[in-house]
């Protein structure tokens, strides 16, 4: 049974029909691409998946469990982590604390423990430090653990956001244009990291990208969205040959 099942998904803001009759499903461990021109409704789908907006019709289920109406924080607990198109880091906190905040649900301790600073507090905090350093090492950020997130340059900030989403141990990781604003070799390096993460953490990834060449290189299956509607979906090689995609996308 598919990890993520989206049936007949649709939402309209006032008169605007932002997303209309979108169906797709993602299997466990897949690296699934969601592509389309700017303003096609990619981020809106992300916001519908994560409960930021409520869909007007359609269903979204993870491992068969419907998540419509759930709070964003509960959806994350069910296993759906995400990054944002414009970076949303905790800029006044250290890089390490950004990750430790994401680990919070796995290392809960009570208010009393933190007030009395019991040995349990120190033990858990140290374990969280070790765990967080592990995630930072994957993205090569371990040596910048103690600086403020706002002092990181653009590339490392993007990676930190992915690391933070990863730290919530999601089943499905939603990446919203992770390579946006990166130069070509930074992008290639990032894509390899994503593949490495998928294999090492055995995680399913849904990737938003508008760079067709990049997505088809890395994704096993892609879904092409145009003006909120499905244009095509399937294996990248087939989709690239689809006439509708070529005209809409490449503009011949």
């Amino acid at each position: 049974m598919a990890l993520l099942e989206v049936k007949n998904l649709g939402v309209s803001f006032g008169g605007l029909r932002a997303v209309d009759e979108v169906d797709f499903h993602i299997e466990e461990g897949q690296l699934y691409g969601l592509i389309g021109p700017n303003g096609a409704g990619k981020t809106t789908i992300f916001n519908l998946l994560t409960g930021v907006y409520q869909p007007t019709e359609g269903t979204i289920s993870i491992n068969g469990e419907n998540i419509i109406g759930k709070k964003t924080s509960d959806i994350n607990l069910v296993g759906l982590g995400r990054t944002f198109q414009n970076i949303r880091l905790f800029h006044n906190m250290t890089v390490l604390d950004n990750i430790k905040t994401a680990l919070d649900n796995q290392y809960k301790y009570s208010l009393l423990t933190s007030i009395l600073k019991t040995p349990k507090y120190f033990a858990i905090e140290e374990e969280m430090d070790r765990e967080a350093i592990k995630y930072l090492e994957v993205f090569g950020l371990a040596d910048q653990a103690d600086i403020l997130a706002s002092n990181l340059s653009y590339g490392p900030q993007r990676k930190l956001e992915i690391a933070r989403a990863l730290a919530t141990k999601p089943k499905l990781l939603l990446l919203d244009e992770p390579a946006a604003g990166m130069n070509p070799n930074e992008t290639v390096e990032l894509m390899n990291t994503i593949k490495l993460v998928r294999d090492r953490f055995k995680i399913t990834i849904l990737l938003i990208e508008h760079d067709m060449k990049l997505v088809s290189g890395i994704c096993e299956e892609i879904f092409v969205l145009n003006f909120g509607r499905e244009l095509a979906k399937g294996i990248p090689s087939e989709v690239l040959k689809n006439q509708a995609v070529i005209t809409a996308y490449l503009g011949e």
Binding site: T43, N47, V52, F84
Partner: protein
């Protein structure tokens, strides 16, 4: 039944003053993104200026009114330049504290100059009451209502159609971007404060004509009530300020008349909280969906 109508008119009487003050509040907030706590005290300054021009310098009324409005606008611009401009890049909260400092300063300065004893002042607006059936509406209430409506219409069209109005809206959207587009942000904000203080001066004149008494702390409570009205109507929205002000006046008088005059403050603020719970950005505030 006439009692209900009378109480509603009483509500409009206070509400129209709140609305006029709220206009200045919401405009300064909408454009400079700042709660100008000292706005209430600029009303006091306007009232004292009018008193000085008419009772002490014995100038004719029209000249005194014009001078009061001009002086108040200049004072507003001066305050912005001295106290708020240096904090242009600071956190909004530090500007709020500075505004509180300015409000404190204005009150204590006028306390030193004019002493604490309240001063009586004969209203300059001699409009006799209008009688409909056995219900009468005081002249000053009608004048205030008309002036507030005109001010709102002028202000809205000024911001919508004039060049400076465009600049103001650009500054309120994004100061940085506006600067890049060649808008002199400092000049625009100064003009905003000038207009805001102008409105406060008019409110001061009408407030003084309605209640005919001056005191250094006379601006504090109306300032807070206008802030509540501006938020109730949707802070930043000019028609919202008008609606919020009138609504606040009516809620106050209905609660005092028919529920309990002792608990009226509690009732008024509870209504405000209920409204904000139903519509988190106030009655006419644009429902600001944070782009994720």
């Amino acid at each position: 039944m006439t009692n209900v109508i009378e109480q509603l008119i009483n509500g409009l009487r206070t509400g129209s003053i709140y609305a006029l003050i709220a206009l200045g509040y919401t405009m300064v907030y909408g454009i400079a993104k700042m709660i100008n706590f000292a706005h209430g005290d600029i009303i006091m300054v306007g009232a004292y200026l009018l008193y000085v021009f008419i009772d002490i310098f014995k100038l004719p009324i029209i000249l005194s009114v014009v001078l009061t409005i001009v002086m108040c606008s200049l004072i507003g611009v001066f305050i912005e330049k001295v106290a708020y401009k240096p904090l242009r890049k600071a956190a909004p909260l530090s500007v709020l504290i500075t505004a509180i400092g300015v409000s404190f300063f204005l009150q204590n300065a006028s306390l030193l100059i004019f002493s604490a004893n309240p001063i009586k002042f004969e209203s300059i607006i001699k409009v006799n009451a209008v009688h409909i059936g056995n219900v009468s509406i005081a002249g000053i209430t009608i004048v205030t209502f008309i002036v507030t409506s005109i001010a709102m219409v002028l202000l809205t069209s000024f911001i919508k159609y004039t060049k400076t109005g465009y600049a103001m809206r650009a500054v309120s959207e994004d100061k940085g971007a506006a600067q890049l587009m060649g808008i002199n942000v400092n000049r625009t904000i100064s003009i905003t404060f000038a207009i805001g203080s102008l409105l406060a001066a008019i409110a001061g004149i009408l407030f003084l004509s309605q209640y005919q008494s001056l005191k250094p702390t006379m601006g504090a409570l109306p300032g807070i009530k206008a802030f509540v009205a501006a938020v109730l109507g949707g802070i930043g929205s000019i028609p919202g300020a008008m609606l919020g002000g009138l609504a606040l006046g009516v809620i106050e008088s209905i609660s005092k008349a028919y529920i309990s005059s002792q608990l009226s403050d509690a009732i008024v603020f509870s209504v405000l909280i209920l409204v904000l719970l139903v519509k988190p950005t106030g009655l006419l505030g644009k429902n600001f969906i944070e782009k994720v």
